[in-house]
């Protein structure tokens, strides 16, 4: 009977400890209330068109002259490519000079926030694979540490329970 009570109390304490940790995490996940004006969810389309006018002109030319390459336009001394990069960037601004999101090392993003951090790095660096890879290693490292800690804590708990009997 004494053994049963001791085991039950140990189990309840362990569950309580885990629950308390979870509640503290949940409690601090709230964000300060902020509301945006509707205008924040819009942009100046005329300004965008003006900024992209050179690119739109080149795009229209490529559409009507399918198969034209950058090198061909350079050889023709076309003014359409005077201010255009020669390399492809299908996923957008892939080259952000290796800058991690908000200046925080990508490893830390992955390490602290796991998969969510990985996603943040991927989105914020606009698919920069170098930075995302660092975040992934952070994610792997934190998972490994968590597993080791989990095993150590449970090992210690099991040893304590065994020693009691």
């Amino acid at each position: 009977m004494k053994k049963f009570i001791l085991k039950s109390v140990s189990l309840i304490l362990a569950i309580s400890l885990l629950s308390a940790q979870n509640f503290s995490i949940m409690a601090s996940t709230t964000t300060a209330a902020v509301e945006f004006d509707e205008s924040v969810f819009s942009y100046d389309d005329d300004l965008l068109m003006a900024e992209l006018s050179e690119l739109n002109e080149l795009d229209a030319y490529i559409e009507t002259n399918e198969g034209t390459t950058f090198d061909e336009l350079v050889n023709e001394n076309s003014p359409l490519v005077a201010n255009i990069e020669s390399t492809a960037s299908p996923m957008g601004m892939a080259d952000q000079n290796g800058e991690p999101p908000l200046g925080i090392p990508s490893f830390l993003w992955g390490c602290v926030f796991g998969v969510v951090g990985l996603a943040v790095v991927y989105i914020m660096t606009d698919s920069d694979m170098d930075e995302t890879k660092k975040a992934m290693w952070g994610c792997v490292a934190s998972t490994a540490v968590s597993v080791v800690l989990y095993m150590v804590v449970w090992g210690a708990w099991a040893a304590t329970v065994d020693a009691t009997y």
Partner: protein, 229 residues
């Protein structure tokens, strides 16, 4: 009593068939794409071509026609850049295809840009004009870097995302426009991204998609690049 049970059974079967017929599985897509990048400083970028994506194979293929003919294959944990059937660049990457707009759209998870799937939670929802704006809880440790993620829906479609940093300074806005509807599948015809630097200068990135094709099973080779080729 037996008749009622038969009726219930018949109703369930009919309902089941009906649900099955409307819930078509969209598993792969192709589209013509154009990416335009206008940085604050430096040269601009124009890339054109075709994308192929299969959500089960999770292989993303960019068949680029401009600036020059090349293919980018994003496969498992690697990216390969290929010209004339030979790989000229390879890099180890984490498998991130499931975070792309293609994967989210094929899985009908585009409405909240997959944030709900990534276990973020909504802190507040409000209606402003024809927009339904949801504000998402930010995990505590990144609240110093990202203060708010707000997602606006319009006509039940993802309209825009606004990400703010310290002091609620806007870092990035994304707009999803000109939706193309094919059966139960919807995809933005254009995605406009605006990045703000520390001086509030704007960098623009626009991705345009057209000629979207779904579930093409006749051109299998377009969706699976054989690297030994």
């Amino acid at each position: 009593m037996r008749n009622i049970l038969y009726l219930i059974l018949l109703f369930s079967v009919v309902l089941g068939f009906n649900r099955h017929s409307t819930a078509q599985d969209y598993f792969r897509m192709s589209a013509d794409f154009t990416t335009k990048v206008k940085p604050v400083e430096g040269k601009m970028n124009l890339t054109k071509g075709k994308i192929y994506y299969d959500k089960y194979a999770q292989e993303l293929i960019y068949d680029i026609s401009f600036p020059s003919k090349e293919k980018w294959i994003v496969q498992d944990s690697k990216i390969y850049k290929i010209t004339n059937d030979s790989v000229f660049f390879t890099e180890e990457i984490p498998s991130m295809n499931e975070f792309t707009v293609f994967h989210l759209a094929l899985n009908s998870n585009l409405t909240y840009f997959g944030l709900d799937e990534a276990k973020f939670s909504i802190s507040n929802i409000e209606k402003k004009g024809d927009l339904v704006i949801s504000y998402w809880n930010i995990p505590p440790h990144i609240q110093k870097m990202i203060s708010t993620i707000a997602i606006a829906k319009k006509n039940n479609q993802l309209h825009s995302i606004v990400i703010t940093g310290e002091n609620n300074k806007i870092l990035n806005k994304q707009f999803f426009k000109d939706y193309v509807q094919i059966g139960g599948f919807e995809f933005p015809g254009s995605i406009v991204q605006i990045f703000y630097d520390e001086n509030n200068n704007e960098e623009y990135q626009v991705m345009e998609f057209k000629n979207i094709e779904l579930n093409d099973i006749e051109n299998e080779e377009n969706y699976h690049y054989q690297l030994e080729n």
